[in-house]
Point group: C2
C-alpha cells in the first residue's frame, strides 16, 4: 500500500472519488488551501464538476481511469463509502488513499462495523447476522422488542432497511430486501439523536467538532443544532468515542459517528460514516476550519485545523422541492446549493446555516 | 445598458473578468450558492482557472470573446478596476454588468474619484489635477507640507506614485511617471489606516462589515484587524461614508473605501475600490456571509447576506517567499493559498486568518 512520505505541497492535486455535494464541498475546501481537486465520477454533469476543471468520468472499477487518477494525484480520498473493494485495493497500491481501505471495508459492512464497535467496548444496539429468512426469525426471538432488518451493504438515508415487529415480519423483510446478507438490529429507545464529526491526522493528532443534536425526517437528516441537548459530559464522551474509533481504524481524515442518546443518558453508536458528513455542514460557517477543509488537510498530510466553534448554529437541509424557496432561504441564512438540476423527492438540494452568538 | 429584470436563478452563470485571487474567491463563493462561475482572463493558468471549468482566455478588448461572455452569462462582474472603458461599454449593452460602468469609470480615475468624493461632502486629502510638470510645481505650492504625485489611472499597491517634498520634486516626479495625467495629493498625517467593506444590493439595500484597522508595509496590505482602534462612533461613520458613496454611484456589489483616521479623529477618504477588497478577506471566517458571497449575491440580484461578525479576527497577507512557511502558517490559522506558481517579491500568495472569541 502506498503511503504519503511528506505532505502534499501547495499546488498538488487531491483526487476525490464521487462527484456529489460532499465531493463538491471538499473540492472547494481544497481550493482554499491552494490544492487542486480532481473529481472522479461515474456520471457526467455531477455537482462537483462545476468547481474544478480536473474531471474523470468512468465506472469506478475502470482500471485505466484508476491508473490515470493515481498518476495525476498526490493523494486520493472519497465522498462515499460504497466504492468497490477491488477498485480501492488497485488504487491503494498506486497512490496514497485516505482513509485507508481497511477502514473503508469495516464501515462498508454494517455487521463488520457493529462487531468492530462492540469489540471496542462501545455501546451498540443488539445486533445479529442474518443470512436467511430462518435466521431472521430466530434472531428476532432474541430481541426484547421491535427490530430493524438492514442489508449489510449499500444502505443510506433509510434505503435497504425494513422494520420488523414480529419474527414473521423479519422473515418477510429478509425476502423483501432481496435475500442479501443482512443484520437485524434491536430498536433503540432514545431521547434524541446526535453525531460527532472528528478528524485524525496522519501524525495521529485528533480534532473533534462539538457534537450536534440531529433530527431526521423520513430517514433523512432534517436539522443539526449546536449546542444541542447533550450535557458537557456527553459532549466529552461523544468526542472520546470518535477518538477510540478513529485510533482503532488508524484512520486519516474526517469521520462521523452517529449516536443515539438513550433515556438513561448513555451514548449508543448507531453508525460510522468514513467521510465528511451532512451533520457537519454547519462547521463551514461556525468554525474557522470546516469539516471539508479538515478532511483535505488530513488527506494531504497537513496539520489539522482548529475545530473551535465560535457561534451557535442550526443547519437545515433543503430537500426536493423545498429548493424552490431559494430566495427566501437566501434571505434567512447562509445558503448552500449543490448545483443539482432536478429536484427529486428526498434529494438533498442544499442546506441553510443560521448563526447566533455563542451561548456556551 | 442591459439590466437584470429578475434574480439570476440557481444554476445560472456569473461571468467574472479577471482571474487572480479575487476572481478565484468570488468563483468559490458563487459555487456555494449553486451558481456557476465563468472566468475571463487575458492570461492562461491564472489562480481562478483552478476552481471552475468555465474559462475564456483573450485580451480584455476582444469583441468576439466579450460577445461570447455576454451570451453565456446571466450577469457579469470584475475583480479589478482597470478594464478598458470601451470593452465595458460593449459588454454592458449585451449583458447586465455590476457594478455599473459609470461607477467603474469614476473609480478608475483618481482625480474623478476624489472630485466625486469631495462633492459628496466627505473629507479627502487636498488634491489637484496635474497635466504638466509646471502644473505639478504650482500645485505643490498650494500644499502645506509634502505631497504624493499619482497617475490618475492604473495604479495599485503603490505603483504609479511618487513622494514629493518640494515643488521641484513634484515636477521631476511628473516626468518620472511618464508624463501621464496625474493628481497631486497633500500628505495626510494620520493615526492609523482603516477601511470599510460594504455592499449595496440591486434593491438599494445596504450592508456594511465592521471596518478593520489596516497596516500597510511597502504600500502593500500587511494586516487587517477587527475590531481595530476605531471608536463605535467612527465605526458608524465609516459605514455611513460607504453608504453615501454606494448610493451616489447607484452601486450594485461590494465596494471598499480606504480611510485615514486623522489625529483629530476625523475619517478621510483615501480611495474607493469598486470590488471586493483585500482588507475584507477576514469576512470568510468571521461572518456567515463573506464579502465574496455578498458580492455575488448583489451581482446576481439576490438578497444580501448577513454581515454580522461573530468573532474577533486578524487577517495577515502572505507575500512572496513567506509562502515557503505554509506548513507552520497552516498550523497557526485558517490558511488561504491562491494557487500561484511563482513567489515573486511583493506578490500576494495567500493569507491567513486567525479568530478569537468576539470581545465587542
Amino acid at each position: 500500500m502506498k503511503t504519503l512520505d511528506k505532505p502534499v505541497p501547495p499546488g498538488g492535486t487531491i483526487g476525490i472519488i464521487g462527484g456529489g455535494q460532499l465531493g463538491r464541498m471538499m473540492a472547494l475546501a481544497a481550493s482554499r488551501l491552494g490544492l487542486n481537486a480532481l473529481i472522479y465520477s461515474d456520471l457526467p454533469d455531477v455537482p462537483a464538476f462545476h468547481v474544478t476543471p480536473l474531471q474523470l468520468i468512468a465506472p469506478y472499477d475502470d482500471r485505466a481511469t484508476l491508473s490515470a487518477l493515481a498518476n495525476v494525484c498526490h493523494a486520493v480520498t472519497f465522498e462515499f463509502e460504497n466504492i468497490p473493494a477491488e477498485a480501492m485495493a488497485f488504487l491503494a497500491e498506486r497512490v496514497p488513499v485516505r482513509p485507508n481501505p481497511a477502514a473503508l471495508a469495516t464501515t462498508q459492512d454494517r455487521f463488520a462495523e457493529k462487531s468492530f464497535v462492540a469489540a471496542l467496548g462501545l455501546k451498540t444496539a443488539p445486533f445479529f447476522e442474518v443470512s436467511s429468512a430462518e435466521q431472521a426469525r430466530e434472531a428476532f426471538g432474541k430481541l426484547t422488542g421491535e427490530g430493524i432488518l438492514k442489508t449489510r451493504r449499500l444502505g443510506y438515508d433509510g434505503k435497504g432497511q425494513m422494520r420488523a415487529v414480529s419474527a414473521d415480519d423479519a422473515g418477510v423483510a429478509f425476502a423483501a430486501l432481496g435475500g442479501a446478507p443482512c443484520i437485524l438490529e434491536g430498536f433503540v429507545e432514545f431521547s434524541f439523536e446526535a453525531s460527532v464529526v472528528a478528524a485524525r491526522g496522519a501524525d495521529g493528532c485528533f480534532a473533534a467538532y462539538d457534537p450536534p443534536e440531529n433530527v431526521h425526517e423520513h430517514h433523512i437528516l432534517r436539522r443539526s443544532t449546536v449546542p444541542g441537548r447533550l450535557t458537557p459530559a456527553q459532549v466529552d464522551e461523544a468526542k472520546a468515542i470518535a477518538r477510540t474509533i478513529a485510533d482503532a481504524l488508524e484512520y486519516v481524515g474526517v469521520l462521523a459517528v452517529e449516536l443515539f442518546v438513550a433515556k438513561d443518558g448513555g451514548l449508543i453508536v448507531n453508525e460510522i460514516a468514513p467521510r465528511v458528513h451532512n451533520s457537519g455542514h454547519w462547521t463551514i460557517e461556525a468554525c474557522a476550519c470546516s469539516q471539508f477543509e479538515q478532511h483535505i488537510r488530513a488527506v494531504a498530510g497537513w496539520p489539522l485545523g482548529n475545530p473551535t466553534r465560535h457561534a451557535d448554529v442550526v443547519m437545515e437541509n433543503i430537500i426536493g422541492d423545498e429548493v424552490r424557496a431559494w430566495e427566501s432561504l437566501a434571505r434567512s441564512g447562509a445558503l448552500h446549493l449543490y448545483g443539482k438540476k432536478e429536484a427529486k423527492p428526498g434529494r438533498k438540494m442544499g442546506h441553510v446555516t443560521r448563526l447566533a452568538p455563542r451561548s456556551r
